[in-house]
Every structure is written in C-alpha cells, then in structure tokens.
Subunit: 336 residues, 2 copies
C-alpha cells in the first residue's frame, strides 16, 4: 500500500506541500494550471487526506459521541435505543459527522468513557442519553465549555442544552386516557427511581389523578428497571393485592408486555378486567396479544433535534433555546 501524503503528491506534481493543501482546501490563490496538475496526480494515485493529522491540526475530529446509560445487554433488547441510534446516525451523517457509540451502566465505566471520549478530545461533542438525576459529569462538562446535549432532562434547565419527550405530558396522556375509559384504580409500573423518564411520567400520572380527584395509592406504584421480567413480576404482585388495579400504566412497552404475560398466565381478561398501556410504540406493539396501546414520541424528531443542537454548538452557530420538547401522541389499540 502506498501510504500517500501531501508531501508525496507535492513531489510528484513538482510543487510544494503547501500548494497541495491549498488545492485540496479550495484556496483561490492558486494558479489554474498548477491546480489541474495537482488534481490530476491526486486523482491518479487516489490520495485522501489523513483524518488523524487533520484532527490534530484543526482541533476537530468530525465525530460525535453518544453515551447511553444502559448496559450493553439492556441496550440489545431495547427497541427505543436501536431506533434512536439509527436516527442519530442518519442526521449526524447528513451534517458531515460520524457517530461513536458507547454504553455503560456502572458509574465507574461511565467515568472512564467520559475521560476517554471527552477529555482526550476524541469527539467534538457528546449526546448523553437519559443521564441519572445526579450525574457528576454535567458540572465538569459545563465548566470546560465542552459541547454536549442531553436527551432526557436535567434540573437546572437553563444551564444545559437538552431535548426531551414531553414525558410529563405523556404520563398525563396515558393516565387521562385510562380515566376517560372509566378506570379509577390505576397502577404505575416504573423503571429505576431517579431516572428522569420514570420520574416525569410518574409526575404526569400523579397530576392526571389529582385533577380527576382520584386518590393515588402508593401500593400501586412499583419501581424497577426496563425489562420484561420486571413488568411480569410487578404485575404479579399487583394482582396479588387484596384490591388489584383495573388499569396499568407501564413505563415502557417491554415492561407492559411483561405485565400482559403475567395477566395472561392468571387468566385475567384484557382489556375487560385489566387495561394496559405502555410507552414508545415499539415495533412489536401491534403484534402482541392483545395489541398494545402506547404513548409515543417521534424518535426521529428527537434524534434530529438533539443532533442539530449539538452540531450547532460545535460549529458555533446560534441555538435559540436551551430546552426542546418533542410532544407525544396516543396510539390506541386493543389493550385498553
């Protein structure tokens, strides 16, 4: 393999390396004849500039980092993330960037990733997906003036760029829908405590109940993770209550599917005896039995806004707002 450099091209074209660089960068201050000669040599040998050297010189890598706060195993089973990643790849590509993806659940590996992606300047900016409420990185990122954007929420909203589903609204929407259908004892099967998605949907759930004048029973709210297994166990516990709920809001479709399974195994009729609703309108929602109602955000829009906000920061263009909210809508199916 030739391992071409601008120097080689320069020698072959009998010009200086600087001129080759100028030709490549489209600098107008170069004679047309020389330009043609250089271009011909470049074309002939198939020269492409070395991105590593460009990175060092320009202080830009052309790579965006995506850090997801889930273990790789959780990632593998979660359709929300595959859609998110795919869409971010799409929009990053359109903006001329590559995407570097990392996943980590444990705090120490997150620290390592943080050091390794950011401080080393390996990426030009960072998209953080659903960081925990108390994430020690945010202050440092802010302090260093490093471009980043959150997907999810962060409390001091006016300090940090973020893009988020309207999770409070989504929680309300799901709960109000069940209330409209006449349900009163409505359970909420959640993910981890402290994760904003979960907390926000919980807030929406509480708001809807309160406004309807319905009591919010603490025994009907169960925290856990984003697995089908958790949905199954939580639903089993709920069905064992002296007075089980007649409807369930599950924090994620996968969790809802677990709940459906628990109900099915006990012969609880859906939706007659128990209504279930999830979030994200995952691909499988329409194929489960019965098809699962879901409150959904347009993931592509979410990805697009996050990517654009980040790229604008990096390229020092105007970003009009700090916080962007992508609204949700309801997909009605047979499970309610």
């Amino acid at each position: 393999m030739p391992e071409l450099t601008q120097n080689q091209i320069a020698k072959l074209s009998r010009v200086s390396q600087a001129t080759v660089s100028r030709v490549l960068r489209g600098d107008p201050r170069v004679n047309e004849e020389l330009r043609q000669r250089v271009l011909a040599v470049i074309e002939k040998h198939g020269y492409v500039p070395d991105a590593r050297a460009q990175s060092l010189r320009s202080q830009r890598t052309g790579i965006l980092g995506l850090v997801v706060h889930r273990s790789p195993k959780q990632l593998a089973r979660d359709p929300f993330f595959s859609a998110l990643i795919a869409s971010i790849i799409e929009f990053a590509g359109k903006a001329g960037y590559h995407l570097c993806v990392d996943a980590a659940r444990a705090v120490q590996s997150r620290r390592a990733i943080y050091e390794d992606l950011l401080r080393t300047r390996r990426v030009d900016g960072l998209i953080l997906v659903e960081p925990q409420t108390q994430d020690e990185r945010m202050p440092r990122l802010l302090e260093e003036g490093f471009p980043f954007v959150l997907i999810g929420r962060y409390e001091p909203t006016d300090a940090v760029y973020s893009v988020d589903n309207d999770n409070i609204g989504a929680g309300r929407m799901a709960t109000e829908y069940l209330l409209r259908k006449g349900h009163q004892r409505i359970a909420y099967i959640s993910g981890p405590r402290g994760l904003f998605v979960c907390e926000d949907r919980y807030t929406g759930y509480q708001q809807a109940l309160k406004e309807a004048g319905v009591c919010c029973f603490p025994e009907l709210v169960l925290w856990g993770d984003f697995t089908e297994e958790h949905g199954y166990r939580a639903m089993s516990r709920l069905l064992n209550l002296p007075e089980p709920p007649t409807a369930v809001v599950a924090v994620d479709d996968l969790v809802a599917v677990g709940a459906l399974r628990a109900a099915r195994e006990r012969g609880v009729a859906i939706p007659q005896e128990l209504a279930v609703i999830g979030f994200n309108d995952s691909p499988f929602c329409q194929y489960v039995d019965p098809p699962l109602s879901s409150v959904v955000v347009d993931i592509r829009t979410l990805a697009q806004m996050a990517t654009e906000v980040l790229v604008h920061q990096i390229e020092e263009r105007e970003v009009p707002h700090r916080r962007y909210i992508v609204p949700c809508h309801l997909v009605e199916r047979a499970s309610v």
Copy 2:
C-alpha cells in the same frame, strides 16, 4: 478551560516534555522522585493526553468502524442490529476500542463512507455487516492490507476474514423441522436477492426439501426485503394461490410477523392450517400471537468473534482461521 498539554505539565513539574511522556507511558527509565512529582502535577490539574495527537503519532485511533448495509430507517426497526451493535460495543470496549457506526444502503453513500472511514485512517479496522455479493470494496481493502472482518459471507472465503451464522444450516434446520411436522408444501419468504443471508437460508431450504424428496415449487419462493410489510404482502399472495402452502419459512422474524398478520386477517388458523417459522428469535417472538418459533444464532457470540478477529488483526496477533461459523439452534413455540 485550561487546554493542558504535556508541555504545560512539563513546565509545572520542572522537567522536560519527554519525561512527562515517559511517566505516562510507564517507561522504567525515570527516577522515582521525578515520577512522583510529575504524577502529582498531572493529578492536580487533571491532565489527560490528547487522543488526536496520539493518533497521529502512533498511527492508531483506537476506533473500530462498523458499516451496516441497511438504510437507517431499516436499522431502526430491526432488533437483530440493535443486539449486534450493542454486543460489538461491549466487546470492543473490553478490548480497549471505541465503536464508530455507519449505515448506508445506497452504493454511492457506501463509497463515501468507505473513503471517509478507511482511507482517511479514521478507524483502525472495519466490521462490514452483510455486504452484497458483489461489493467493490473488498478487493481494494485486501489490496491495501487494511484490517477488516465480515459478518456474513464472501465467496472467495480463503482471502477474507469472516464470521457468520450457519445460515445454510439454519435454513435446513427450519425446513427440516417443518418437514418433521408433516408439512410438504413449504414456502420461503426471503429478503433481497443477492444478500448472502437470504441466499444461504434458501440453499439450506432447498437442501432439506431435496433430501426429503419433496419438490421445490418456484411459486412458493418470494424475494423482497426485511420488513413486516413485505412479509404481509408475500403471505397474502401465497394465500391467494390455488394451492397455498401449509407452512412458511420467513427469512426474518419481522417478516414472519407480517406473514402472521396476513394469515390472521384471513382467518387462517395458526398453527393448524399454517405453520410459520422465523429467524433470530427477536425479543418480540414470545409476545406475538401465537408465539413465534424461530431459528436463532447467538448474536453475542457472533459479535464477540467478529470483534476479536478484527482486533487480533489490528494488533498483529495470530488469527488461526479465516472463516468462523457460529451454529444455530431451534426455539420451538406455538406457531408450528
């Protein structure tokens, strides 16, 4: 932000930049006292080396590239890929690499990605997922001696490192299973012509039929893509045949789910009147109605082997074989 360099650290520690580098690289030829002094300064100021400069100097970026031959939209809906990406992230991380993901279906954008990732030396090696039969890049990659590994198949097997499901075996396994259940008219709903996954499973399908002495009817084999929609349409066409099949092998679970929907809409009883089997054991298989039988490869193993083969190439360690096959197994559920 301080924008620290080894030079700054050197000045602050009253040593030379070379010494700082030696301390960081663990070079033994440096006095213990100095080492401590330098380490203290590094610690105090939170210095981390610049990956871009290291890349230029060492000719390594520490990044693996993953190129998927699907459009981002297809990617978003395909659980196989989300699992694959997640697992590759996991094993790349364990080997000390980051992962850069790109997706492209169109040939010209693949060319662009190829130029941009490889020729620019932005990544140390490439994982190509399911390249088309005639992919113009392979010869150039080989010629340049650039480390890469295929997930999927490539004909001149002894020239290229590849890791693959045993797709022929999987096609056989699915078909033989249906044959054992007494089916004779077995259809195959495939993805795109020319994609090795599809062709190989087709080969296995044909082999099984032939060995059982069952005729292979061309009207029972339909090519398309990996969408649920395609499964739906293909199944509809099959059910319109004068003599419809009694069993279907679908090239992917999502396609199988589409087939199930078409059957359900026409009131065809499953599995009594029609047996359906898919591939990949996607997360939703157990939740569809009825639960979908599937032939599955362990995606984590696939990802692990691909990553290891690539990393060994990059680090110039021994790679004993060119071609690695990950065997499949059958997951029986109610759809057969």
